[in-house]
């Protein structure tokens, strides 16, 4: 799909397709439970600095159909646990169908993203495949609702970090004319997660598909468990546009993950700047 899209977009440049657009972002994020642990003594938190950049080529096929391809790269540098240092590159292809004319016309987008994540801990290094379907329904020029379904599949060097997940999300956006915009939503994911804990944990062993003892990504030997779990996430964010092309964004989400009697929570916050030109 991505190769076909690239050929189409290259032809599009010759035939009067869109000029490429670029986006960059940078900021800090915080994860209050990086170890996905359910016991307070196993919880490890960390701050990250992250930066991303992308280039998007698009072509409008007719009034309703648009195709786009994006190449992107990024990095995340943790303040404390260097095993999570990440560099990523990837490509994303999308087909969008717009139902009508103008800003308030609903849109449906099917996408497929490939990503290669290089972690400092090589066992985590993986391919990530994410097909998705997104439906955006504006109620007015200011208000819109977005529904998202996404499947993710990770193919890592270590089976511990392999996994799949199914995710659905509902996001309400308020984007009035002016510098401020807001969003709030709810995300539900069922799939593989990796949780670190101090052994013995027979309850985790009984539900885990992969168990790896002596894992030292947090500097002390813990046992890592891959298990399937349900994560419910309310999230919200606010954005302030410095210029028509550059905005600051602050967002937060609360992740509640459960599997049988095992539950753990994490609070994630992100503060950053985004630009598109």
């Amino acid at each position: 799909m991505i190769v076909a899209l690239a050929v189409s977009l290259a032809g599009g440049q010759v035939l009067g397709g869109e000029v490429p657009s670029f986006d960059v972002s940078s900021g800090f994020r915080y994860n209050s439970n990086l170890s996905n642990a359910d016991q307070a003594s196993d919880v490890e938190d960390d701050f990250f600095w992250r930066a991303d950049a992308g280039a998007t080529w698009s072509r409008q096929l007719d009034r309703d159909w648009r195709i786009s391809g994006r190449l992107f790269a990024g990095t995340e540098i943790p303040f404390q646990y260097s095993a999570f240092t990440l560099a990523r590159v990837g490509a994303d292809a999308r087909v969008t169908r717009k139902f009508g004319l103008g800003r308030t016309a609903p849109k449906a987008t099917a996408g497929l993203a490939f990503e290669r994540d290089f972690f400092e801990d090589e066992d985590m290094t993986k391919w990530l495949l994410q097909p998705s379907v997104r439906y955006q329904h504006p109620f007015s020029a200011d208000w819109s609702l977005e529904l998202l379904y996404r499947f993710d599949a990770s193919f890592a060097r270590s089976g511990l970090f392999d996994g799949t997940g199914n995710e659905g999300a509902l996001t309400l956006r308020w984007d009035p004319e002016g510098r401020w915009s807001f969003f709030a939503g709810y995300r539900l994911r069922y799939g593989d997660v990796v949780s670190w804990a101090t052994p013995p944990r027979p309850d985790l062993v009984s539900v885990a598909s992969v168990v790896e003892s002596g894992n030292t990504v947090f500097g002390r030997p813990l046992t890592a468990y891959r298990l399937q779990a349900l994560t419910q996430t309310p999230l919200a964010g606010i954005s302030f546009a410095l210029t028509p092309d550059i905005s600051l964004e602050l967002s937060g989400e609360f992740q509640h993950t459960s599997r049988s009697a095992i539950t753990y929570d994490a609070f994630l916050a992100h503060l950053g700047a985004k630009a598109a030109f």
């Binding site: 000029v19 007719d62 004319l101 103008g102 994540d117 028509p244 967002s251 992100h270």
Partner: protein, 226 residues
Amino acid sequence: MTLFSRTSGPKPHFKLGALAALVLSAALSSAAAFDLTVKVTDEKGQPVGDAVVTFTPRGGAPVVPAGQGEIIQAGRQFTPAVLIVPVGSRVKFPNRDEVAHHVYSFSDAKKFDLPLYIGETAAPVLFDRPGVVTLGCNIHDWMVAHIYVSATPFYGLTSTGGQASLRGLPAGGGVVEVWHSRLRGRPLSLELPPGSASLPPVALRLRPEFRRRQAPAAGDAPSGYR
């Protein structure tokens, strides 16, 4: 005498045949004409540009000859952002970008759309009803412009200094209307009594000026490990 008022700011885009102007001028010169300069500000007293000021004589507006206008698309923006044309005019929408645009309007005064094109292939559009027509591009949501289709030949667009000059207005009073694309509520309507040739500054309540161009979508979940 100049019958059609002009802004003192951007180059006017409306072209009227000289003969038609002369005929109208002759018809209206029987009454003592006067000029009117209107200053438009926001609530803080700051000058407001691109406000449309019209004058409708007490006895009604004279018949206006149709004309032509042009709004170009360049740099993925409409220029000018506000165009005034007399009712019955035709407006061209040349696309000088290398990317295709799809111009549309849902406004009651004129509904139309010009499917994807580049260059000057789109036929001029007839604006045969007075009112405000809001233009958009179906591909680039941030592109917005307005066409004010005027039922009166006496109009002007404020400059960046907030001033519009309307020249050659017929004596006898009338109604001055002020409209702006960010105006909250209905256009401001002011009575100009017979014998009066001036108005105090007009203050408008406007919505915020800022419009996002193409900010990235917010709220996507980051990837990474799970």
